[in-house]
């Protein structure tokens, strides 16, 4: 009995150590992720004098002036508006055109389907740098240069293939009998697709939208190349902080923090679906 008790406590302390190593690993990893972000926030709340003159782990002289600068100057905050406009446009376009295509790929076999699918995916592999110049020329020649729709369409290059691919994965998981039952019940294709099928893969649509939003929001090369004033994204506006008087670090940091906010909000809203979402319907 005595050594039984010893065994038990040994087993328990072993379990405790195991839990701790997990927590420690995650703690270190999250620290690694958050420290640079914290530093950005820290800087955004300091004055330029404080940033340059002293080194402190937290703002001694707390100021919101950097944020005020951005939020009161249209040439700053319109950058956010522009970014959000083309990101939302791109997400909507990508999903709307990807839905029927993904359905076709998941349900039917037709001439050239495999090649077409692969060709679509290759566009996800196209380096934006390759397309920067031709896009510039193409959109200039059709008069779309410096418009939101130009950026939204350009981002379709990589978002549409991705959306098709993600949605196809989710649609494969829906039994075909559902389609057949609906047709037997007299649904037309359009009504079936909108009323029955799309709600069934709502989580897939959410995941695809999340990824479209993400990749459109974070991209800079194409959006910068295709805009000059009217549709200039916030990410490009940030380069303004370099002026004759040197870097305006505080405003740069504040602008950076503000670009993280929409992403953080999106993540917060989908937090319960992230794990499933990253499986892309393929687990």
């Amino acid at each position: 009995m005595a050594d039984m008790t010893v065994n038990q406590s040994a087993a328990r302390s072993k379990a405790a150590v195991k839990v701790n190593t997990r927590a420690i690993v995650m703690g270190i990893y999250l620290l690694f992720l958050l420290l640079p972000i914290y530093w950005l926030i820290n800087m955004s709340l300091k004055t330029n004098t404080e940033i340059l003159s002293s080194f402190s782990l937290w703002p001694r002289d707390l100021t919101f002036q950097n944020y005020a600068t951005i939020l009161t100057d249209p040439s700053w905050y319109m950058g956010y508006v522009n970014s959000l406009i083309y990101v939302v446009m791109n997400t909507v376009i990508s999903i709307v055109v990807a839905l029927p295509a993904a359905y076709a790929f998941s349900r039917y076999s037709f001439m050239g389907d495999k090649h077409l699918f692969f060709w679509l995916l290759t566009n996800r592999m196209a380096p934006p740098a390759v397309f920067a110049l031709p896009f510039f020329q193409l959109y200039s020649s059709v008069g779309l240069f410096d418009t939101h729709i130009a950026v939204a369409l350009a981002h379709c290059l990589f978002n549409v293939p991705l959306a098709v691919w993600i949605l196809e994965g989710f649609m494969r998981g829906v039994p075909k009998e559902i389609d057949e039952t609906a047709y037997i019940d007299g649904y037309s294709f359009g009504r079936f697709f909108i009323k029955i099928f799309t709600p069934l893969i709502a989580s897939g649509v959410g995941v695809a939208a999340f990824f479209c939003f993400m990749f459109s929001w974070v991209e800079l090369l194409l959006s910068r190349t295709l805009t000059s004033v009217e549709a200039k994204p916030i990410a490009a506006t940030m380069t303004r902080t370099v002026s004759a008087s040197g870097m305006d670090w505080g405003v740069l940091a504040a602008a950076g923090v503000l670009t993280i906010v929409p992403g953080a909000l999106v993540i917060y809203f989908v937090r319960n679906y992230i794990a499933k979402g990253f499986a892309l319907g393929r687990v």
Binding site: R124, M125, P128, A275
Partner: protein, 289 residues
């Protein structure tokens, strides 16, 4: 699932086809056009044949950039894939802490790429950045704008910071799909932790890991914004990866012909490698199904 043959399905694919044709095929044709022509200015072009490609093949600059690119992609894959798996294995399985980790880990993924660059540019500065300042105070000479190794390490650590979570989240999704019974059976069979990983977790993660490798390979091979913001491709050409070199050539020097030839080669290399991955992946899918 058995698929029915239906040629009318083409109509469903048509919108995608038109859109992608507009946003991919037309620009690509422009590139092809430039790749085979030369100009003396004033929009007068003449046929140049394969001369741009010949020049490209012989160009040390391109090979150097390609070499740097390959090393970079290899290093970040070698770090991010195992690290991502390791993180995924240590994540809480459910409850508040699971959501907590998921939310914080997703954060870097939704930061615009130039802001990622800015964050590390600031973080690594010796005068105002936490990392640079600390290293400097510890007596380690660190200057990513001057020193070759410092520049590389900064760019790699930045990419690990930026993208490991993607690998971890994919691996985590794979792990979540393993029924408890597998772990229980392994306990009964007295499988070691390593064997549980090797024979249960890894096979179940294989599918998502292929996706992770594919995505990380493609995106790292196309990387432009983040290193450009931090190092501008320097010091010298130390961190001038393919995309950076290409943009320099096309938008900076306006060398359209060579840049176009470069573009095509670049695209083909990515396609070739991705095609290999794709084939492996679909074969894996088939074996499982």
């Amino acid at each position: 699932m058995e698929k029915t043959v239906n040629q009318k399905a083409w109509f469903l694919v048509l919108p995608v086809l038109l859109l992608v044709a507009f946003s991919a095929v037309i620009p690509l044709m422009t590139v092809v056009n430039y790749a085979f022509q030369d100009t003396f200015g004033n929009n007068v072009f003449f046929w140049a044949g394969l001369s741009w490609f010949e020049e490209l093949i012989e160009s040390d600059r391109m090979w150097a950039a390609l070499g740097r690119q390959a090393i970079f992609s290899a290093i970040i894959l070698a770090i991010e894939i195992p690290l991502g798996i390791f993180v995924a294995l240590n994540m809480p399985k459910k409850g508040f802490w699971a959501s907590f980790c998921l939310v914080l880990m997703s954060l870097p993924l939704l930061i615009p790429w130039n802001v990622v660059g800015t964050i590390w540019q600031i973080f690594g500065r010796v005068d105002i950045g936490l990392l640079g300042y600390t290293l400097d105070k510890l007596g380690i000479s660190y200057n990513y704008t001057q020193d070759f190794y410092a520049a590389w390490i900064t760019v790699i650590v930045m990419d690990v910071w930026h993208w490991t979570s993607l690998v971890a989240l994919l691996a985590y999704a794979g792990l979540q799909s393993i029924p408890d019974a597998y772990y229980q059976a392994a306990k009964i069979d007295q499988a070691s932790r390593w064997n549980v990983f090797r024979y249960i977790e890894l096979p179940k993660m294989a599918g998502v890991l292929m996706i992770a490798i594919l995505l990380r390979f493609m995106d790292s091979f196309m990387i432009y914004t983040e290193p450009f913001v931090v190092t501008g491709g320097g010091p010298g050409n130390a961190t001038t990866f393919l995309s950076i070199d290409l943009v320099k050539m096309a938008l900076g020097q306006f060398d359209l012909g060579p840049a176009a030839a470069f573009s095509l080669m670049y695209f083909l290399v990515i396609l070739l490698i991705s095609w290999v991955f794709y084939t492996v992946m679909t074969n894996l899918d088939k074996r499982e199904g």
